[in-house]
């Protein structure tokens, strides 16, 4: 390798590292702050402690909020699986032309800003035959629409790579009913796309704040709403909360990327 190309590659590496540092800095500072006994008048924290984490993980209000977040996310994702998977199979197998329509539909949750749609949802579900505002149900339904694009994209890529028609034909000729063929032959091949979609939507949904705050708020406190309500308390405590939340998302994302890689 010549001198010039070595210095170029050094330059490239420097830029990447710099970018990485800039992105990492706030997180590292938060981590340090969450571990500090006190950090106000000095350049470095005066001592390190885990007491903020201990306080956080023994706070029943935090644990309940965490539980609420999990219930709402998992509920929304379960709803998505049971509605979207059969829907996508039917579209791929019987009505491939509807795919274009679905591609427009799944963009709608992104096209309308959350603040706007939450006001609409407030009006619709505050009273009337379905008074859902303030219950976790409204969040599950709402999060379902947010998860839809992730699910649809990932699974539809997976389905297109699969020759669904020939596989179904082969299974039919070997004596399988349409239901069994879909269950035994098509579904197992969608596992990868499904897993990626689930983990991706999970990390996204557990950090959702706008809908949770406006539609439900303190009546069914989720993690982000709890964080928001604690904003006037100790900064060390909320830092511990942010880092804990970040770790959960990191683990989930890492698991997703591990699963999306080929086993072979």
């Amino acid at each position: 390798m010549s001198n010039a190309s070595r210095s170029v590659s050094l330059y490239h590496r420097l830029v990447v590292w710099l970018l990485f540092l800039i992105l990492l800095l706030p997180l590292a500072a938060t981590l340090l702050y969450s571990l500090a006994t006190q950090w106000s008048a000095t350049l470095l924290p005066s001592g390190l402690t885990l007491k903020w984490y201990a306080a956080l993980w023994s706070d029943s209000r935090f644990l309940i909020a965490f539980g609420h977040s999990l219930v709402v996310c998992v509920g929304a994702l379960l709803l998505a699986i049971f509605l979207v998977l059969p829907l996508m199979f039917v579209i791929a197998y019987h009505f491939p032309r509807l795919d274009a329509l679905m591609n427009v539909l799944i963009l709608l949750p992104f096209a309308v800003p959350p603040v706007v749609s939450s006001v609409g949802l407030l009006q619709l579900y505050a009273g009337g035959p379905l008074p859902l505002i303030g219950t976790p149900w409204i969040l599950i339904g709402c999060y379902f629409t947010i998860a839809l694009p992730f699910m649809y994209r990932a699974i539809s890529n997976n389905l297109q790579a699969l020759n669904v028609h020939d596989l179904m034909d082969a299974a039919h000729l070997l004596g399988a009913s349409t239901f069994r063929a879909a269950l035994l032959v098509v579904l197992p091949n969608l596992r990868k796309g499904l897993m990626v979609a689930l983990f991706l939507s999970f990390s996204f949904l557990i950090g959702e704040f706008v809908f949770a705050n406006i539609l439900v708020g303190a009546r069914y406190e989720t993690l982000q709403v709890y964080l928001y309500n604690m904003r006037n308390g100790s900064g060390h405590f909320t830092s511990a909360l942010v880092i804990s939340y970040f770790l959960v998302v990191l683990i989930v994302t890492w698991a997703a990327s591990g699963l999306s890689r080929d086993k072979s």
């Binding site: 034909d169 000729l173 070997l174 399988a176 091949n189 596992r191």
Partner: protein, 329 residues
């Protein structure tokens, strides 16, 4: 008594006719090839026989039973696809065993018959592999084993060799043929390749634009094409109009005449003289282009000896037997 007989079968999508008036039959253990250019309806016909596509009318009699209204699961027909259609989430053994599992045969029988089928296609030792770990030829052999394991009454092969390279294709072709004969399995084979059709079939059904043009054994289809299309499809026939043929052969013809290139000799002692205007080397055969009386002809000669090659401009004497000329509609 024919084992499979198809009567008056027709199929259309709206006003688009896919095929009509399809009538043919196959004896027990026969391999019948449906041959034709792409878009002639042969693959759709095969799917209709399998029950994957409904027909608009006609009867399909298999072993004396009309199966036209049965679902594909109940027909006892197996099919091998051009795309292999192996289940990617299952191993070779699981793929092969799938049909037996659907039939709910007991576990011991399932294991024994799966092993037999895998051995039949010479894939012993590959049972634990996944389809993406196999070559194209191996994949198609798994698909074949998967079809044979349920002991179908009829085997359908939909261009099973088209996605494979030439050497594997020849080998698998022979393997399929010998398995089919060994099991005495009635088989329908769809292809657009006339060489494949000629080498494998007991009988050939030639299709064009949704109709059967001619059917018969390979010998008949090759030496006695009934129409211009058949002559053009089955070999590299020289097609002459009535006047040209009459002049060249000294015999009165009322119709167009087809002459196979290998039935013309270029070293005859007497006959029309011609000039070589080019040649193509096909390996074991040299194909000359010659001109005589303003007519261009193709002449195939065995490639005995490199020194015997006639160069462009050489004058030769053509020998054409009257019996080799065939009038076609």
């Amino acid at each position: 008594m024919s084992f499979l007989s198809v009567k008056q079968l027709h199929k259309s999508y709206g006003s688009t006719m896919i095929f009509q008036d399809i009538e043919f039959s196959a004896k027990q253990g026969e391999l019948v090839t449906l041959l034709g250019p792409s878009g002639c309806g042969k693959s759709t016909l095969l799917r209709c026989l399998a029950g994957l596509t409904p027909v608009n009318g006609g009867r399909i009699l298999l072993d004396g039973q009309d199966i036209a209204a049965l679902s594909p699961q109940k027909r006892g027909i197996a099919m091998v696809f051009q795309s292999y259609a192996l289940f990617p989430n299952m191993t070779v053994a699981q793929n092969v065993a799938f049909g037996l599992k659907m039939q709910k045969v007991d576990r011991q029988t399932l294991i024994r018959r799966t092993a037999e089928a895998v051995e039949l296609v010479e894939l012993k030792g590959f049972e634990g592999r996944y389809p993406h770990q196999l070559s194209g030829g191996q994949c198609q052999r798994v698909a074949l084993a998967r079809s044979l394991v349920t002991r179908p009454r009829l085997l359908l092969l939909d261009e099973p060799l088209s996605a494979l390279d030439a050497r594997i294709r020849r080998h698998l072709r022979e393997q399929i043929r010998s398995l089919q004969q060994e099991l005495n399995l009635t088989t329908l084979f769809v292809t657009h390749d006339q060489e494949e059709a000629l080498t494998m079939s007991d009988r050939i059904v030639l299709m064009q634009e949704g109709r059967i043009v001619q059917s018969g054994d390979a010998e008949t289809l090759y030496t006695a094409p009934a129409t211009l299309f058949a002559a053009g499809f089955m070999g590299n026939y020289n097609i002459l109009d009535a006047a040209q043929a009459s002049a060249l052969l000294g015999h009165n013809f009322g119709q167009q005449v087809a002459i196979r290139p290998e039935s013309i000799r270029i070293n005859a002692s007497e006959g029309p003289s011609a000039e070589i205007i080019g040649h193509t080397l096909l390996g074991n055969v040299i194909r000359y282009r010659v001109r005589t009386m303003g007519i261009e002809l193709l002449v195939d000669v065995l490639n005995h000896d490199a020194s015997a090659l006639r160069t462009r401009g050489t004058h030769v004497t053509l020998g054409i037997d009257l019996s080799a000329a065939r009038e076609v509609a």
